[in-house]
Structure formats: structure tokens, C-alpha cells
């Protein structure tokens, strides 16, 4: 009954991940410290190391992209959280078991639906040529204005965030004992007060986790701003792609990637800290 050592079973995944993921990420970091030679694809491999690619990111024109990405992502995540919490509460507390099953099926289907399809659908419906054009114009909203495009990008993010956050929050709300809310009401608190001082604090960690998931998804979004932003609203991901596809400036793209990577890791670190705390407590 000798068992093969488990290290042997780690080999296939270990090799694939080392060669196609961890090594490339290391290479990316190294590339970000190389000087860019115009007209050359990729940096010269023994070029001296430099911080120039990072210094470039501190100029206002580059910072603008980071600020824009964070601003729209933050907006979409917060709005998504409010809507998702209301939806999740309604599904867990007001719906029949059958209705709940249908609602869950609906949101899971949405999660599985291609992001590209949803982005196209939003552009077709709410974009400059869509059926709502006349209505928008009659309200004085120009579908080609920058403000509207920003809202459209946020809407694209919301279409993904709301199903994700709602499904996350379903479990959170299910774990809150409804009798606590009833008790608060029996003791004379009006409903809104009972929610504010009982339901919401008990859901705090779940809400935070849902928010951080949404935010992490948003800041690394690629297709949504690419299609809905029409080149006028660019996220950091799009900037990385443009560095590669338009001027083949690999070192600069690598530096932007490294920064985006660092921001994402920080958010995920915060999330796991809070989610683990919730599971431990």
C-alpha cells in the first residue's frame, strides 16, 4: 500500500504554471526596467536597467488614465453594491422557494453569458445609433458626449457586477438570522431603523467582499471600455494593449502592467483578509 508521493502529481500543473505564468510575469517585471528602443520589438536583452518607464507614468497624461479607471470603477462598484444588496435581500426574504430558484438560475445564466455579447447588446441598445437615441436627445443627452460615454462604460461594468455581487450577497443575507430583525421591530424600532442597526452591520463583511470583487473586476476590465468607450474613455488595460499594438513599446506596456498588477493584488489581499476573518468568526 505504498502511495506515490504527492509531489509527483504536482508536476504537470507546476510545470505549466512555471513556464507559462510565473516566469513570464518575472520577465514582464524585468522588461519594465529596460529602455525602449523605437522601431525595435522588445527591449535589447542586455540593456542597462532604468526607471524611465515608471517615471513616464507619473506625468499627468498617464496619471489621467489611472484616475479615470479608478473613478469609473469606484462609481460602478458602489452603484452595483446598492442595487445588488436590494436585489439579494428581495430574493432571500420576499420570494417563494420556486421564485428564488428561478432568480438564481437567471443570475447564473447571466454570469455565464459572454461579456462580449453583453457589451455589444448595450452598445446596440443605448449607443449612438440605438433605438433610444431619440429619447436621449429629447432629454438633452447627447449619445456622443463624453459624460454619456462614461456612464455607458459604467453601465457595461454594472451588467457584470450586479449578477456577481447579487449571488455573493445571497449567502451573506441568508446567514443573517431574520429573528434578529423581528426582535428589533418588536422592541419598537421601525423597519428602516432595524435594517440600519441590525441587518446592515451583520452583512458588513459580505458587502465589503462584494464591493472588492466588483472593484477588482472593474479596474482590470478590457473589452467593456474598449467597445463602449469608443477610444475616448480608455482604461489602463486598454492603454497596455495600445502600447503593444500601436507603437510596440513593450517596456512601457510592461511598466503599466506592473502597476496595474500591484493595484489588483492589493485589492485581492484586502479581500482575502476580510473574507477569511468572516469565515473564522
Amino acid at each position: 500500500m505504498k502511495r506515490a508521493p504527492s509531489i509527483f502529481f504536482y508536476l504537470p500543473a507546476g510545470v505549466v504554471f512555471s513556464v507559462f505564468f510565473w516566469l513570464p510575469l518575472g520577465g514582464l517585471l524585468l522588461e519594465s526596467f529596460r529602455p525602449f528602443t523605437p522601431g525595435r520589438i522588445g527591449a535589447v536583452s542586455d540593456a542597462p536597467l532604468t526607471l524611465a518607464n515608471y517615471e513616464e507614468l507619473l506625468t499627468p497624461s498617464f496619471l489621467e488614465f489611472f484616475v479615470q479607471t479608478l473613478r469609473i470603477s469606484l462609481f460602478a462598484s458602489l452603484v452595483g453594491l446598492v442595487f445588488s444588496f436590494t436585489l439579494a435581500y428581495w430574493i432571500t426574504r420576499r420570494m417563494s422557494p420556486r421564485g428564488r430558484a428561478i432568480a438564481i438560475g437567471f443570475f447564473v445564466s447571466l454570469m455565464f453569458l459572454s461579456v462580449l455579447v453583453r457589451t455589444y447588446a448595450l452598445e446596440l441598445t443605448f449607443g449612438a445609433a440605438g433605438p433610444f437615441r431619440a429619447i436621449l436627445l429629447s432629454f438633452g443627452v447627447y449619445p456622443n458626449s463624453r459624460g454619456y460615454i462614461e456612464v455607458l462604460v459604467a453601465a457595461g461594468l454594472l451588467h457584470y457586477i450586479v449578477p456577481l455581487a447579487t449571488l455573493t450577497l445571497l449567502t451573506t443575507i441568508q446567514n443573517v438570522d431574520p429573528r434578529l430583525f423581528d426582535a428589533a421591530q418588536t422592541l419598537g424600532a421601525p423597519g428602516w431603523r432595524a435594517h440600519l442597526s441590525v441587518t446592515l452591520p451583520l452583512c458588513r463583511d459580505g458587502l465589503l467582499a462584494a464591493f472588492l470583487f466588483s472593484f477588482a473586476f472593474s479596474i482590470s476590465a478590457f473589452v467593456i471600455p474598449m467597445i463602449l468607450g469608443k477610444g475616448r474613455v480608455l482604461f489602463v488595460s486598454n492603454l497596455i494593449y495600445n502600447r503593444f499594438s500601436e507603437i510596440a513599446d513593450f517596456p512601457s506596456g510592461a511598466a503599466i502592467s506592473a502597476v496595474l498588477f500591484a493595484v489588483s493584488i492589493t485589492i485581492v489581499y484586502l479581500t482575502t483578509r476580510y473574507v477569511n476573518r468572516r469565515e473564522a468568526g
Partner: protein, 272 residues
């Protein structure tokens, strides 16, 4: 007074729920309607006459069909490889102690927390240094990195749920370890493996951010083809493709509901 505020809030909640559900559904309905539009241009709703012209246009467009072929081939190969690797790794994780399991799982799930564009760009730089220029090979590398995390996690969920005493009993009764795996572990972990396979298929078929970095002039996936034609001209062929993809999603959801149960699926969602 309190009651009135309560009524106000619950009314507001209802309005918000109705609004957001409309927001989620309306674009999909509009797209489905427009896909059957008989007009040769993008006109206002509703379409005056229906036809399947955009569907036939899609199926006679070489550019899209080529992308579809590459996408399907890539998705099938990625799913097969990542399911195999996922099962082997899940067995390894199952045998390790809980500390090692936690550490290794988070290492293997890490591609999900790295922005996909960054992963794609890193692989692009790395492979071009190695001199790998074959588009399909590059795409396969990228897709394996994003599908394996799902198959590992889903299979592990299936394997961890199996009572250890079953395997031990088989081994005590003289079964070889290999037989114990194929007769006990594998059948019991089947739903987990299937679930991981479906996740991997969906992820591979939907990816844009990684694929767009790794394509070459002749080897591109359907989503990459769709994105570039979306930027070039806004044609209703894309609406027809969207309807086809929605149909595919519904079919996959149906399979998942019948085999695994959707409640199981949620526990394995993107970020858990």
C-alpha cells in the same frame, strides 16, 4: 411616521429592483429582436419585417468562420488538457496536509486575480523571446493558464467531499491504488470534474483580453474577430452571433442544472 418611511423604502426598493432587472434584460431582448431584422441597415425598433439574413451572412463570412473554427478547436483542446491537469492536481492537493493544500491552491488559482491583459502581455513578451511565433501554440498557452484554475478548484471540491474511508476500504481489501482511483474517486468526483470542464469551456470561448495579445494574422479566435469588426463597422451580423452565443449559454446552463445543480455552481463562482 415610522410606517410611512418603511413603506417609502420598500416602495423605493421595488422600483430599484424593477429598474435593474429591466436594465439587465432589455439589451438582450433588443439584440435578439434586431438579429432578425430584415432591413439591410441599422434602423429603429421594432423591425418592420423579420428574416434570418444576418445569420446566413455570418455562416457565409470566411473571416468569422475561421475565428469560430479556431475558437472551438482551442476550447476543446484547452478543456481536455486542463481537465486532465486539474484532476491530477486535485489528487495531489487532496493528499497534502491542509496547510500545503491552502498554499498550493492559492498558487494555482492566482491567474484569476491577475488582470488578463497583464497575463496576455507577459506571455507574449516571454514567448517572443523564446522565438515561439505559432499563433495557435501561443493561444493554447494563454488559455491553459486561465482554464486550469477552474478545473483544479471544481475537481478539488468534488474530491474533498469523498469519504476517505471508501478509498481506504478498497485498499485494505487489496485493490491497487490505481484501481481505487478509477473505481471510487473518479466516479464520485465526476460532477465536480464536469463542472470544471464546463467552466473551462466557457472561459476559453469568451476570452478576449489574453487572446488579442497572442493571435497572429491567420490564427485568431471568434471573440477577437468580433471585437475588431465591432470597431470597424457596426453590423447586425454581430447581433446574430450574440443570439447564437446566448443559445449556447442557455444550453450549458441546462446541462449544469440537470447534472450538477445550479446551487452547487454558485459555490464555485469566479472569485471564491
Amino acid at each position: 411616521m415610522g410606517r410611512k418611511i418603511d413603506d417609502l423604502f420598500s416602495g423605493l426598493g421595488r422600483v430599484m429592483n424593477g429598474f435593474i432587472i429591466c436594465f439587465l434584460i432589455i439589451p438582450l431582448v433588443v439584440t435578439s429582436l434586431m438579429a432578425f431584422d430584415a432591413r439591410p441597415y441599422l434602423g429603429p425598433l421594432p423591425p418592420p419585417a423579420l428574416s434570418t439574413r444576418w445569420f446566413s451572412k455570418f455562416f457565409s463570412d470566411d473571416y468569422f468562420l475561421r475565428g469560430l473554427g479556431v475558437s472551438l478547436e482551442l476550447a476543446l483542446i484547452s478543456v481536455c488538457l486542463s481537465v486532465c491537469i486539474g484532476v491530477i492536481t486535485a489528487v495531489a492537493l487532496d493528499r497534502s496536509n491542509s496547510r500545503a493544500r491552502e498554499l498550493m491552491t492559492s498558487l494555482f488559482v492566482s491567474p484569476l486575480i491577475v488582470p488578463p491583459v497583464v497575463t496576455g502581455f507577459a506571455i507574449l513578451i516571454f514567448l517572443s523571446k523564446l522565438g515561439v511565433v505559432n499563433g495557435f501554440a501561443r493561444l493554447l498557452c494563454g488559455h491553459l493558464i486561465i482554464t486550469i484554475p477552474y478545473t483544479i478548484r471544481a475537481t478539488l471540491n468534488g474530491v474533498l467531499g469523498i469519504d476517505k474511508s471508501l478509498t481506504e476500504a478498497a485498499l485494505t481489501l487489496g485493490a491497487r491504488e490505481r484501481h481505487a482511483f478509477w473505481d471510487i474517486t473518479f466516479p464520485l468526483a465526476r460532477t465536480g470534474i464536469l463542472c470544471g470542464g464546463i467552466f473551462a469551456f466557457v472561459v476559453s470561448l469568451d476570452d478576449v483580453a489574453i487572446s488579442i495579445m497572442l493571435t497572429d494574422a491567420k490564427t485568431y479566435t471568434l471573440p477577437v474577430a468580433l471585437v475588431s469588426s465591432m470597431r470597424a463597422n457596426f453590423d447586425l451580423t454581430l447581433a446574430a452571433v450574440s443570439v447564437l452565443l446566448m443559445g449556447l449559454t442557455l444550453a450549458l446552463i441546462f446541462v449544469l442544472e440537470k447534472t450538477v445543480g445550479l446551487n452547487q455552481v454558485i459555490g464555485q463562482g469566479t472569485f471564491r
